[in-house]
Each structure stands twice: as structure tokens, then as C-alpha cells.
Symmetry: C2
Subunit: 415 residues, 2 copies
């Protein structure tokens, strides 16, 4: 019998966990991703706000899998799947033949049909995104210092974050600290502390996935940091001059989009049934109904969680599903008993709001403030994928905590 | 008497030293640079070869001068100088009026009239350059792994460095180590150790500014690392397919240009007398003849060193000249006795060739090998501008030394 060929699309939490779970499996595994790195997305907002460098939270995928000789890592863009022939189509290399396919392509941000807004409201999903946002944030202050007195100063020093989920809250809080503290003494002609930071959330509460008390704490903390929080207000329009929302018209050149997400187009590749956000509906073993050799894990999968709910688009779900499918295939290849249907183990959720301020929800325990922040810091340090990243993030955080500084305040591109 | 206005153009070693020497001076100082950061150029090749992150060797200029309240830092591009009216013209802000002007604009690479080569032979002067080179280097291996068997594999895995000065030698040595050691186990379809690295030098010796014995050591070390060194061979032509030099035609998509430098156009701004490389000829006090209120320091200045020679384009020269002019103006403002004519104090030169291999020339002492490398490492750690950079570089170096790894192996841009 020929050695089984497994293709994994995407080197995020789901795809990487699947590859690692297949360690030692008697199979030829190909892991393809359009970047060359595995990214620790939960800390991406810290790259966007100049606290960390890209290399602190991203590691070359092939370096992480160096010793796992049954895996070939490729950098390339997948354009489709031929389920019948068992082929993954890519732009960059020959078609990849598979016996089993694991789709772990993740999600992108959605502008709810207003795709033209994207040019003026960058999103935060990749390292490239984070560097674009960093350059824009820092560039806004540089422009203002060079153009003190200019009529556009107000727009240059107004920062709007759209979306009150964890990423939106983290960004708004961190930008506020950047203005009020890190940059406060560095300018002579403008006062960074006078910058406006506004956070829009269409729903009634920030951090809607958290218990109400923690949402309330997040709001109070952002208030104290000087962030203007607008809940229950949807954004109507965005262009280069600013944004309209409800009765308000805000002049700004700095809008960050952290609102709804949409799954990447794997469902279309398979003509499979999809949830409202485009995610592939999967069976209890993460396989795609009608395609027993194809699995979907993480944000690109829509998994029934009972009671009409689906599993949330969180890193732990992707990791656990990836490990599950990897283990399932490894058992299948070895002819061992396969694991029981996938069951998500909720280990709790965390969100950080600012220096020494966070919320943590473990179900049986809910924390706010410094204790939650310390928990958040330790958990995230431990979750980083390699020793080097832990060392670098720890060093950067320690330095930043004591000095209020940000180590990566760089504008690198020239236009 | 009105407070004196001093404009400094360029935040490299020369401009930054001038600004710092003016600490406490009763003057309004404006420091303008086209980037927002002070860059430690001697380690830029380590960013280009994925060993360090940009933030490890670059710090926001305004953060470095945060406490020096007589300095305003601006990010902007200078386009000319009106010496008569005492104005610096910029694209980004209103004209800057000066009583004294310090030009510290540095040098760029020169293609000796073949400016079209630039597209296929990137240079290494700025952080943006270093990231372009890093993406190309790493991208070449990624492309090769995806296209094993393709006819262009040879060109993808051939790396040519043009110019055998310190930067060329450092790059060639580091790329060789990257191929032979760091990347060796990370690919399944290609063998990175089979990559060709070729170093061209038009003159008869590598590191021509060093004593002959040290040049010879550099060559032997590069030989041992598997770098093909061609001295006495000038490059005749470069295009997207490769390079022609002497009788050789080399197919390669990876050419790095580290040959001749040319001063940035300050001499033209002043219509001042320039040396062959475009540098402004300066008097013994670094002022520009005919323009007693204008000074030039560092690579943009051509300073008589006696015997028909000029001072070399090295960081220590720029730093010492910048400090000198800053101190001179500070004394002039305070009505104190001005310092004697500038005298360059040669503290020695160093160049690194690879892991644990370097050369050091202190005149009275010449070192090679591990001792020179240790000296190089310690000196460069000490010269880094702030504590955070030292900490980060030290941590990265330690990690790399023990693991042979490179921490910043990231391809960030999508084309």
C-alpha cells in the first residue's frame, strides 16, 4: 500500500496543531501557507502598536517543523480544491495530490458588503497588516508635528477603532496608552495626549462573549484611559476623510477595522454547505459532509456546539480541532482505534485592556484588573511557540512595563 | 539677541552626535531626517540576513532626544538649501530658517553610471533596504522548494555579492552560514548547502582598508565557508537574469550591491566644491568654505587628512565630527573659547566574516579569529545607542550562537 499523502492548507493554530499531531505518522504530509511563518495572532495588536517586533511573535514554519521529517513545508497560495481527483490547486507550485486534506485557512475581516472601505480602514490579520497599521499610527504623529497649525491636525490625531471585540478593545486601550504615556514627552509642537480615541461597537456591549460584569469593567477601564466608547452605533460610511456613524460625522485619517469576520473561501472550493459567515459546516469528526477525506478546522469550520450554537472562532478551538484531526488520521493510518467525536474543552477566555488591566473568564472564576492581566501575561508567554519568542516577548514586556516605552517605534517604508 | 536657530539635516551618527553635543545650548535646534529613527548601520547586514529585527538596531529619534528639550525632531525630506536667506527647503513642512546649518546627510551606493542595475541589485543602506534583501534571500529558498526540478533552480540558489569591503564580506560570510548551517535541515526537496555564494571585488584585495595580512585572513575564512571569491574582476553588466563579469556569465536572481558609495547631494544644494564622490570639501573646522554658517560632517563631508588623503567614510569619523561641530556651536553661543580644529582620533577598525571569525586593526594590535570576533561583538554591543537595543541584540546573539538559528526568518510582504 502506498504511503498516504496528507495536505494541510494553512499554518495557523489549526494547521500547525494538525501537523504536529501527525508526528511519526507513516505519511507524506505537505503543509502549505501563503506566508512562510506561523503567527501568534493574539499578540498581533502589540506589533501594530509598536510594542513588539514581528519576529517576536512569528517563527518560520519550516524551522518549527525542522525535525519532523514527514512534513514538507511550502509557501504558496491555494486557489481551489478538486475533491474528485484529490488535488489542491495552487498558484505557486504543481497541484498537490492528497488522500486526506485538512483545511485550516482561517478567517478574514468582513466589511459587510462595503469592500471599498478597506482602503481607509485597515484590518489586523497578518504581519503585513500590523506593519501597515504601525506605520500609519506613528506616521500620523510625525505628520502632525511637521504640520502644527494645519487644518487637518484634528483628523490626523483622531483614532477610530470599529468593533468592540477583544482585538478592538486591545487596540483602543493600547493606542490610548501610546498617546497619553509613551509619546507624551516626545513632541514639541503637538500634544499627543490630546489625541482622540473613539471605539465603535454596533452591539449593546463591548466584549459581548464575556459575562456582563467583565464587559462593564472593560468599558470603565477604557473610559478611564480616555477612550470614547460608543456602543449600539453602527458605522454607516467610511472614506478618506473620516467616518459617519449614527448622527455623528468624525474627521479622521486613522480608522482601524476590527468588526465582523468571514471565513476564507474553502466552502466555495468544495461547493459545501456553509454557515452565514462562509465557514464550512463540519460533522462531529471535523470532516466535511459528502467529502469523507476532507476535514476543516478552526475559523474556516462551523462546528455545531449544541443548542443551535456553533463553536467560537478562537485559537483554542482551532488548536484542539487541528490536534484532533491529526490524531484521528494518525490512528487511521496505523490501524488503531480512532478517537471519539471532537469535543471542545473550554479553558477560559482572556482579553487585555491596557497596562495591568485585563479580564479573564474561566467560567468558575472571573477576574479583572491586575490579577487578570498577570494571568493573561503568563498564559500568553507560555502559549508562544518557541523558547526564543518567549525570551524576546518577556524582555520587551519587562522593558516596556518599567519604562512605559515601546521598542518598535519605526516608520520603515518611504512612499 | 534672539535665540539662535540650528538646523541639523540627518539623524545618522553625525547628526545625532551634533544634536547631543548641543545639549543645554541656548538655541532652538531642529533635527530633520527622512526616517523617524536613528539606525545603527554597522549591524544592518544582520537584519538583511534574518539574525536581528529592525527594532533591535533602530530607535525612534525623538525617543532618544526626549529629554533634550531644545531639540525639535521632524520627519521629512530636505530638497535644498537657500544659503543666502538661511533656509532649508523640505517637501513635508514649511521652510526651516537657520542661523547655523549642519549637513549630515550621509552617502548612498553608486552604480557608477549604471543606475538601471539598481532594480536587480539591491543595496543595503536603510531598514527598508534590509527588509527587501531579507525577503528576497528567504524567498529564493521558498521558491526553490516549491519548484524543485525547475530550470531556474540554479539561478534561484546562486547569491552574488558585489563589493569586497566590510559590508560585502559580512554579507557573503553570513549568507554562506545561513545556507550551510541555519537552513540546512529545513528543506525536503532542495539542499540549501548546495547554494553558490560568489563575492566580486574589482580591486586586488578584500577589505582593502585593512592591513594585507588581515585581508588574506578574510579571504581564507570565506574560502573555508565555501564562498567563491573573485578579486580583480569588475562587473560589466547586471540584469534580471544575472551578471556578467570578466569572462564569466552567472545566472542568478540574487545580486547584492555593496560597491562604491557616493555622497548625498548636499554639495549641489550649496553649489560648493565637491570631491570625486560628491562629498562637500570642508575646512579644518568642518565648515563649508564660503559658507561660514554651514557645516558638513560624516560621509557627506570630504575632510583633508593630510598627504592628499581624505578621512574615510566610517561611523567614528561621522560621530567625532558631529560632536565637534556641536561643541563648537555650543561654545560660540555661550561666548566661550571655541575648540581647536577637528582632529580625527582613529580607534581602530573591525570587520566580521562569520560566526566566531573577524578581523580587528588597532594599528598597534592586529587580531584575527575568535579574539577579533569577541572584540567586535563587545564593541558593537557597547556602541548600540540604548539599553534596550543592547539587551535585545545580546539575547538574539546568544540564542543564535548556541542554536545556529536565525530569529527573524520572515517573509512579510505579499506581492
Amino acid at each position: 500500500m502506498a504511503r498516504k499523502r496528507i495536505v494541510i492548507v494553512g499554518a495557523g493554530f489549526g494547521g500547525m496543531a494538525a501537523a504536529k499531531a501527525l508526528k511519526g505518522a507513516d505519511a507524506d504530509i505537505t503543509l502549505i501557507d501563503r506566508t512562510n511563518h506561523h503567527l501568534f495572532q493574539p499578540l498581533l495588536y502589540q506589533v501594530a502598536t509598536a510594542a513588539l517586533s514581528p519576529a517576536d511573535i512569528a517563527t518560520a514554519t519550516r524551522a518549527l517543523l525542522e525535525r519532523q521529517t514527514n512534513v514538507t513545508v511550502l509557501m504558496g497560495e491555494v486557489t481551489g480544491v478538486d475533491a474528485e481527483l484529490g488535488l489542491v490547486k495552487t498558484t505557486d507550485t504543481a497541484d498537490l495530490a492528497f488522500d486526506w486534506l485538512i483545511l485550516a485557512t482561517g478567517a478574514a475581516y468582513s466589511f459587510f458588503g462595503h469592500e471599498t472601505w478597506a482602503a481607509d480602514a485597515p484590518v489586523l490579520k497578518s504581519l503585513a497588516d500590523a506593519l501597515v497599521i504601525r506605520e500609519r499610527l506613528l506616521g500620523a504623529f510625525e505628520w502632525a508635528e511637521s504640520h502644527a497649525g494645519h487644518q487637518d491636525i484634528g483628523g490626523a490625531l483622531t483614532f477610530v477603532v470599529v468593533g468592540g471585540g477583544p482585538t478592538g478593545v486591545e487596540l483602543a486601550g493600547t493606542i490610548a496608552e501610546l498617546c497619553r504615556s509613551t509619546l507624551a514627552r516626545d513632541f514639541r509642537r503637538i500634544n499627543p495626549a490630546s489625541a482622540r480615541i473613539i471605539l465603535f461597537e454596533a452591539g449593546p456591549h463591548l466584549l459581548s462573549a464575556f459575562p456582563r460584569r467583565l464587559s462593564g469593567y472593560a468599558r470603565k477601564t477604557l473610559d478611564a484611559l480616555g477612550v470614547e466608547v460608543r456602543t449600539g452605533v453602527a458605522v454607516d460610511h467610511i472614506d478618506a476623510d473620516g467616518l459617519a456613524a449614527g448622527r455623528e460625522r468624525i474627521a479622521t485619517h486613522n480608522i482601524l477595522w476590527c468588526a465582523g469576520t468571514t471565513a476564507r473561501p474553502a466552502a466555495k472550493w468544495l461547493a459545501a454547505e456553509a454557515a452565514k459567515n462562509g465557514a464550512v459546516k463540519v460533522a462531529a469528526d471535523c470532516s466535511v459532509p459528502g467529502h469523507p477525506t476532507i476535514f476543516a478546522v478552526g475559523d474556516v469550520a462551523s462546528s455545531d456546539a449544541g443548542g443551535g450554537r456553533t463553536l467560537p472562532g478562537l485559537a483554542p478551538v482551532a488548536k484542539q480541532q487541528g490536534s484532533y484531526v491529526g490524531a484521528l488520521l494518525k490512528a487511521r493510518i496505523a490501524g488503531r482505534r480512532e478517537p471519539r467525536p471532537f469535543h471542545y474543552r473550554d479553558l477560559g477566555t482572556l482579553a487585555v485592556i491596557g497596562r495591568s488591566r485585563a479580564v479573564a473568564d474561566f467560567g468558575w472564576l472571573r477576574l479583572t484588573g491586575f490579577t487578570a492581566w498577570l494571568t493573561w501575561s503568563l498564559v500568553h508567554l507560555m502559549l508562544l511557540v518557541d523558547f526564543r519568542s518567549r525570551l524576546m516577548v518577556y524582555a520587551n514586556w519587562s522593558w516596556a512595563w518599567f519604562t512605559h516605552g515601546r521598542g518598535a517605534r519605526l516608520v520603515v517604508r518611504h512612499d
